[in-house]
């Protein structure tokens, strides 16, 4: 049972994933903007962060970079609706520091939970 931060500007998707994670027993915090995410992390560092790439007030990649600098141990799962099929931006994202998994939307519950389990070890 872990403290997980979900950062996604799409509230419907964010809440749906939060529901799935809560059903799986995790404690979930939600942030819809980069600023909210930064505040949440500053308040209490989560055990895992799930971050969408596009934000209304910033870039997911920059957020990930900031998070990794301030909390190098924080595992981050990146997901986005903007990865095209077989797009190599997905591969490139995979190589960023701090990222443990990359998904493209829509992602399946089983895949997400398995990745979380792996990340939390």
């Amino acid at each position: 049972m872990a403290d997980i931060l979900i950062v996604d500007d799409n509230q419907l998707a964010c809440e749906a994933i939060a529901l799935v994670l809560e059903a799986a027993g995790h404690q979930v915090r939600q942030a819809h903007r980069v600023a909210e995410a930064t505040e949440a992390v500053a308040a209490a560092c989560p055990q895992l962060a799930i971050v969408d790439l596009s934000m209304p007030d910033g870039n997911g990649v920059d957020l990930i970079r900031t998070l990794h600098q301030s909390h190098p141990k924080l595992p981050i799962i990146l997901y986005s609706g903007y990865f095209a099929p077989e797009d190599d931006s997905e591969k490139r994202a995979n190589q960023m520091d701090g990222i443990v998994a990359v998904f493209k939307k829509p992602l399946r519950n089983a895949d997400l939970l398995a990745a979380i389990d792996r990340a939390l070890g």
Binding site: A13, L19, A84, K105, P106, N109
Partner: protein, 808 residues
């Protein structure tokens, strides 16, 4: 003949000239005969000599026919037995012979009806009388009656009769004997004076001969003769005065005195007349010569006269001008010396040739260069020569020299300009022919005058119509027969069409035969003609279509991509929550089945979105290198398993493709492209028939055309994979939209309309393109152009497909 102020009586003008001659001849003859008879009595000795002189004069004045008539008259008198002895006829015959000789040499020139001619006649008569005197002297010997026998007096009397007769003729028929209006001293010598003086002289002679009136008579006679001579000539008159003075001194024997007086008067008269004639002639000659000189000097052409040896005897100033020296310096030079070295032999040969020519006269032309100093001039020489029929007269050669340097130069300049014009015309023609446009010029009367090679080719005009002078309407009628204006067009419609195409500035592309598009425009020319320009717009329109299509696909891709990403975001909660819901309830319940369907629908939506993204994406090229031929075979083998058994799928691979040909692409993508194309083909054939996949190699894919990813690059070697079906085909409008996402001709519910769009997107990402060739009812051919890798980037022999960039 100058107009005479004298007016002829109407009576005479009504008589013909020949009648006049007869009248004069007979009348003169009768008067002379009567006078002689009065003097010497019938049968007197003087008759015959008088007749002889008369014959001579008549012959001289009127020609040989009259002379013959006169001789016949003499013979008749002789036969009549009135003559003293046969020898008396000798003077007449001698006179005849002399006259005949003179006439012979004068070649029967037209008689000049003036005083000089009459005086010449007198001279001739005098010669005849001298001959008669010599003959009589020979027969009768010299003696006291010699003068009488010599018949000077009657002969001279007859001679004197000439003058009144001439005056009479002048009075009656001025056309026959016109009188010089004035003699050279301004003495009035009109016909009236002449006649009066001559009549006076005649009367005096008659009186003197008829009656012996004493010693004073000869002086009177001499004065009369003087007056008569004065009427004609001053010198002659002076001679007569001298003779009269001499005669007055003799004064002894009347007969002798009269005869001598008359003879002297005649001699003086004749001499005076002759001298006057000579003077007149010399004046005339001098005048002619002056005129000739003036003419020569003012001639704009050079005139050179040559003698028989080719030496210059005369040259006018212009000739000197042309040659470049004084005309006088030319005299005595050989003519050929004037020419250039090249021309000299020609000139010499020409002179020689003229010398040996047989024709009495000729003209011909040679042209060559003269070299006066350093600048040769081009001249033309007209040769004129006259060979007199008399051998002693020298050959006269005249060379007329025309300086044609300027003319030749102008001619050459003209030829140069013509040449230049021809060159420009050629250039224009070549330029016109090199144009892509069809050009045709029409005259103001709407007939074809000029056109370039493209013009008949564009309109499919046969050569009989592509001809100078073809009326424009004929061309349009022909086009109508080709069906260019639709089916069953009337003449009026053809004309209307012509006027619209030719005379309205028209920028529309006109659909033409064989799927082509032409644009017509007409430009009016200043002379009222017009130039018709035809532009083949087919290729432009095709490229424009392609470009428009590309832009459309790009816009569609952006739109689809945006929509797809939003859909992905939206699909996320559907997936998450339906799966969560499913996990929270027992399987088999209605709710479980509901959640399960929701998940299925979401998956279906996900597939569609992925297809759209595949169509729309613009990803960098794959880093996989794939052997194209095995990949095609694998893909076809896989596709075949999924096809219904009624469909045959054949593969043909061109030998030109090397087995090791590589392309930078993902073989799964190749499989997807081929699957989508074959599926589309199978749908078009209602799932029965034959589909062929043909691969052709040795091709070049030109960039900048179609949908190549990198326009403007170099042409690359490529493989074309054609998927050919025998299905229902499609029309142009369908072809235009066939690759648009969600465009489908299939029934509702069959197919998503994404298959070809996905294939399009994938192939574009390879840097290739897909072409469609299809006609309704004739099946379709989709050709996928796959750019190949350059041979040097191929992996070494024996290595598996691609996927090892790190090893290179």
């Amino acid at each position: 003949m100058p107009d005479s102020p004298f007016r002829r009586p109407a009576l005479f003008s009504r008589l013909p000239a020949s009648a006049w001659r007869w009248l004069l001849f007979c009348g003169g003859f009768a008067v002379a005969g009567a006078c002689d008879a009065v003097v010497a009595g019938p049968g007197g000795a003087p008759l015959i000599p008088a007749l002889g002189a008369w014959c001579l004069a008549v012959g001289w004045l009127w020609g040989t026919a009259w002379l013959a008539a006169a001789v016949a008259a003499v013979a008749a008198f002789h036969a009549w037995g009135l003559g003293p002895a046969p020898m008396a006829a000798v003077p007449g015959l001698a006179a005849f012979a002399l006259a005949a000789l003179i006439l012979r040499f004068r070649r029967a020139v037209p008689v000049r009806w003036n005083g000089a001619a009459v005086a010449q006649g007198g001279g001739a008569a005098l010669a005849a009388v001298a001959a008669a005197a010599a003959a009589q002297a020979a027969t009768g010997g010299l003696g006291p009656d010699f003068w009488a026998r010599a018949a000077f007096a009657p002969a001279a009397g007859a001679l004197l009769w000439l003058f009144p007769l001439a005056a009479l003729i002048r009075f009656a028929e001025p056309r026959m004997l016109p009188v010089p209006p004035r003699n050279r001293w301004g003495w009035p010598s009109g016909p009236a004076e002449a006649a009066g003086l001559a009549a006076l002289a005649a009367a005096a002679a008659l009186i003197a001969q008829s009656h012996a009136l004493g010693a004073g008579t000869p002086a009177v006679l001499g004065l009369a003769v003087l007056a008569a001579a004065l009427a004609f000539n001053l010198v002659g008159g002076a001679a007569c005065a001298l003779a009269a003075a001499l005669a007055a001194d003799r004064g002894a024997d009347f007969a002798d005195a009269a005869a001598l007086n008359a003879a002297l008067a005649a001699v003086a008269l004749a001499a005076g007349g002759f001298a006057g004639t000579m003077r007149e002639r010399m004046d005339e000659t001098a005048h002619n010569l002056r005129r000739y000189r003036a003419l020569l000097e003012s001639l704009p052409i050079g005139l050179v006269e040559l003698d028989e040896r080719g030496l210059i005897t005369q040259a006018n100033p212009m000739a000197g001008n042309i040659v470049g020296c004084n005309a006088a310096d030319l005299l005595g030079l050989p003519f050929d010396r004037l020419g250039t070295w090249e021309a000299r032999p020609v000139l010499a040969a020409t002179t020689r040739a003229i010398r040996h020519m047989r024709q009495p006269e000729a003209r011909f032309v040679t042209s060559f260069l003269y070299r006066p100093d350093s600048t040769p001039r081009e001249v033309q020489v007209d040769w004129v020569y006259q060979r007199a029929e008399h051998r002693r007269r020298p050959l006269r050669i005249t060379a007329l020299i025309t300086d044609i340097t300027a003319r030749s130069r102008a001619l050459r300049a003209l030829k140069d300009r013509e040449h230049e014009l021809a060159e420009r015309t050629d250039l224009l023609r070549i330029t016109m022919d090199a144009l892509d446009h069809g050009l045709a010029a029409f005259s103001p009367h709407n007939t074809l005058t000029e056109w370039n090679a493209r013009f008949p080719a564009m309109l499919n005009l046969p050569s009989p119509l592509a001809r100078n002078g073809t009326p424009a309407i004929a061309i349009f009628r022909f086009l109508a027969t080709l069906g260019a204006f639709g089916v069953g067009v009337t003449e009026g419609k053809v004309r209307a069409r012509m006027n619209r195409l030719l005379h309205a500035p028209n920028q529309d592309d006109v659909p033409w035969l064989a799927g082509r598009h032409l644009r017509f425009s007409a430009h009016t020319m200043p002379d009222g003609g017009w130039v018709w320009r035809i532009e083949d717009r087919t290729e432009d329109l095709r490229l424009r279509d392609i470009e428009q299509n590309r832009q459309k696909m790009e816009a569609l891709g952006q739109l689809a991509s945006g929509v797809a990403h939003e859909l992905n975001n939206t699909l996320q909660p559907i997936f998450s929550l339906s799966e969560l819901g499913l996990s929270q309830i027992e399987t088999g319940t209605l709710a479980s089945r509901c959640f399960s369907r929701i998940t299925d629908a979401a998956e279906r939506a996900e597939t569609i979105v992925r297809g759209v993204l595949t169509f729309a994406r613009n990803a960098p090229a794959s880093d996989e290198n794939t052997r194209i031929i095995p990949a095609i075979h694998d893909a076809v083998a896989f596709i075949r398993t999924g096809l219904p058994p009624q469909i045959r799928l054949d593969v043909a691979v061109d030998d030109a493709i090397p087995a090791a040909a590589m392309a930078r692409l993902d073989r799964r993508e190749l499989g997807q492209v081929l699957t989508n194309l074959v599926t589309n083909a199978a749908d078009a054939m209602d799932h029965a028939g034959e589909i062929r996949v043909e691969c052709r190699g040795d091709l070049l894919l030109t960039p900048g055309e179609g949908d190549a990813a990198e326009p403007g690059g170099e042409a690359r070697p490529a493989v074309a994979i054609a998927v050919i079906d025998t299905g229902k085909g499609m029309d142009h409008a369908t072809k235009q939209r066939i690759f648009e996402p969600f465009f489908t001709t299939k029934d509702e519910g069959h197919g998503t309309g994404l298959g070809l769009a996905v294939a399009f997107g994938i192939v574009r990402n390879w840097g290739g393109r897909i072409d469609v060739d299809s006609d309704p009812g004739l099946g379709s051919t989709f050709t996928v152009w796959v750019p190949l890798l350059e041979p040097e980037s191929e992996p070494a022999e024996g290595e598996p497909d691609g996927r090892h960039p790190d090893r290179r």
